[in-house]
């Protein structure tokens, strides 16, 4: 019995990481209708950046995270303003091909810099620490941190969108970009901020990912698919929905792994397919 609760608990924690991956994807799509197929590769970029910082400067991964976040923010801003802004239109093809191109460039750049060997960010022991909950049940410190970070990110995004001037600008621009510009909103800058925030969060997610498991340059596509499935399962238009989607995906995978290690990921995919077939708008969509 406990093993199942333990499995679900692990799944929830894993889901936190997926939710962190998915937040940015959800944000970019919500504000700009832009799907970033390089999203997973940005995770790896952040993870490798974290690795380089901890490896060369011998600092704690959290210091590395503090450095990677503003870097990621800047990269996101520049990429959007310099490249992706030229692809925003009703036609999804340009943004798809361009982000796909970025994905290839990032993966091969990482391969050149780091070769295909796997790396890991050493977290100085917290990877193995756990907090006991009840007799026979414990939760890992690192997974718990990741889950709390995801919770904080969701709350943060929700608050940003609902209560701030920037959030209003995001919503207005996504509603009607021309009318928004008539209000004094600089679309180019707003879009760039959206991507900056989306990639900035990946600074956290990527470093956590590198602490949690080994990383390789070509891991990007897999993370993209998890992020994407989390968004679809949860439903578009709401950050809490994305959070829930991540949790559900994590739990599904954990249950799958418990049943048979080869089927872990597949069970997650299965849940995704089922949601698409029977509730295509997701489990917690926001109706507009």
């Amino acid at each position: 019995m406990f093993t199942w609760i333990d499995t679900i608990l692990q799944g929830v924690m894993l889901g936190g990481l997926y939710a962190l991956f998915a937040m940015g994807l959800s944000l970019m799509f919500g504000v700009m209708r832009l799907v970033n197929t390089a999203h997973g590769d940005f995770v790896l970029l952040a993870a490798f950046a974290g690795f380089v910082i901890t490896d060369t400067l011998h600092v704690s991964p959290f210091v590395a995270m503090a450095l990677v976040i503003p870097l990621a923010f800047g990269v996101g801003y520049i990429v959007q303003r310099g490249v992706l802004n030229y692809t925003i239109s009703k036609d999804p093809l340009p943004s798809l091909v361009v982000t796909f191109g970025m994905s290839i460039v990032i993966q091969n750049l990482l391969l050149e810099l780091f070769s295909a060997d796997t790396r890991s960010i050493s977290a100085g022991g917290i990877e193995t620490q756990s907090i006991p909950l009840v007799e026979g049940l414990a939760v890992g410190v690192l997974p718990l941190m990741i889950f709390l970070a995801a919770l904080a990110a969701t709350l943060g995004f929700q608050w940003l969108f609902g209560n701030t001037s920037l959030g209003r600008a995001f919503r207005a621009t996504s509603d009607d970009r021309e009318a928004a510009s008539l209000m004094g909103i600089n679309n180019v800058h707003i879009y760039a901020l959206a991507t900056a925030i989306a990639v900035g969060v990946l600074g956290v997610a990527g470093v956590f990912h590198g602490m949690r498991t080994t990383i390789a340059p070509t891991d990007g596509p897999a993370q993209l698919i998890y992020a994407f499935e989390a968004v679809i399962i949860g439903g578009m238009g709401s950050f809490w929905g994305t959070f829930a989607g991540g949790i559900i995906l994590g739990v599904a995978q954990a249950i799958g792994f418990r049943v048979d290690p080869g089927w872990g990921i597949l069970v997650g995919h299965l849940v995704f397919i089922l949601v698409l077939l029977f509730k295509p708008s997701g489990l917690f969509p926001k109706t507009r």
Binding site: T37, Y86, F100, V105
Partner: protein, 342 residues
């Protein structure tokens, strides 16, 4: 007097003094060139060496994929980054039918296409729930699912793959020649298929849907059915290409068959060559293939360059290389539009 009134009558009735024309001078020249090329190609197994035949076969696979991706994405408006699902299905259908069902491996090629098309039917019901960018990633996720399913199937060789044993009964020369001829047939067949499809009412419907689904539906076009048919036809093409590729390769594995490396290559061929034309993917395939043979050794740098070129072409030259040429010289080798000639 009678003549006068007859002429007056003629002018008052609607006699159009223009013609509707399809063929252009360039297209007629292309037809002739194509026929000559076909003759040369058919003769090749009798005088060309093994590696030349293999190279062309590999090129043929890429060309068919480019044409089929263009059909789906450029004309059908459905951008997929997961067509490798059908490459894999085609390849493994070849293995399953050839190794286990004892079907002649060469006959398996078109059969593999049919298998891919059949599997595309339920798959479309899943991916069609999504639109635009999410549709694209959805197709990718589906390809991953197929990969995992096959990798977990030990009867198909599991994660490390297996070999095509069904060709053991043929000599190397015979195998390579027949494979080559099938490749030639696939090249001409795929171009002909897309060309005639687009010149038909179906093609007109596709163009209309691409411009506006709502308007098309209101004109009586069955949007859903048309898109479904395009998706299935494209799957068929990819299945054939996949089977052909692994017939030539003789060895298959889930990563090689369903790997994520296929899509960038196919998409870049079409984008750089020119989306939404038949000439574009042809040029793109030739260009990509030639470049990869020259620069292939540079591996990662070559791929990075490819990615950057795709980014630049998409933003600055959305019509691709052929688009620039066609506009500059006003050439249409495979004209699918009709022109008014006064």
């Amino acid at each position: 007097m009678t003549t006068l009134s007859a002429t007056t009558v003629a002018r008052e009735t609607t006699h159009p003094d223009f013609q509707v024309e399809r063929a252009t001078r360039a297209s007629r020249a292309t037809m002739v060139a194509g026929a000559l090329l076909l003759a040369v190609l058919i003769s090749m197994p009798f005088w060309a060496d093994s590696s030349a035949l293999r190279t062309f076969t590999e090129f043929a696979c890429f060309l068919v994929m480019a044409q089929m991706w263009n059909l789906l994405g450029g004309y059908g408006g459905m951008v997929s980054i997961g067509q490798q699902a059908y490459i894999g299905i085609g390849g493994y259908a070849l293995i399953a039918l050839g190794n286990f069902a004892g079907v002649n491996p060469f006959i398996c090629i078109p059969l593999a296409g049919v298998v891919a098309a059949l599997l595309a039917i339920p798959t479309s019901q899943i991916v069609f729930r999504l639109q635009g960018g999410y549709f694209a990633i959805g197709t990718w996720a589906v390809a991953e699912i197929y990969r995992l399913l096959v990798a977990n199937a030990s009867v198909l060789g599991g994660g490390s793959g297996t070999s095509l044993t069904a060709v053991r009964g043929f000599t190397k020369a015979a195998r390579e020649s027949i494979t080559f001829w099938i490749a030639v047939a696939a090249v001409f067949g795929s171009i002909a298929l897309v060309y005639y499809l687009l010149r038909s009412r179906f093609g007109l419907a596709l163009t209309a849907i691409r411009d506006s689904e709502v308007a098309s539906e209101s004109q009586g076009i069955h949007v859903k059915r048309t898109k479904f048919l395009v998706y299935v036809i494209s799957a068929f093409g990819f299945g054939v290409a996949g089977a052909l590729y692994f017939l030539s390769n003789l060895r298959i594995s889930p990563d090689a068959a369903f790997g994520v490396h296929w899509s960038p290559v196919v998409i870049f061929m079409v984008i750089i060559g020119g989306l939404g034309t038949i000439e574009g993917p042809l040029i793109g395939a030739i260009l990509y293939f030639a470049l990869s043979k020259i620069f292939g050794d540079y591996g990662t740098w070559y791929l990075m360059a490819l990615g950057l070129v795709a980014i630049v072409v998409t933003i600055r030259f959305p019509q691709g290389l052929w688009g620039v040429i066609a506009k500059r010289f006003d050439i249409r080798c495979f004209p699918v539009q009709r022109r008014l000639k006064f």
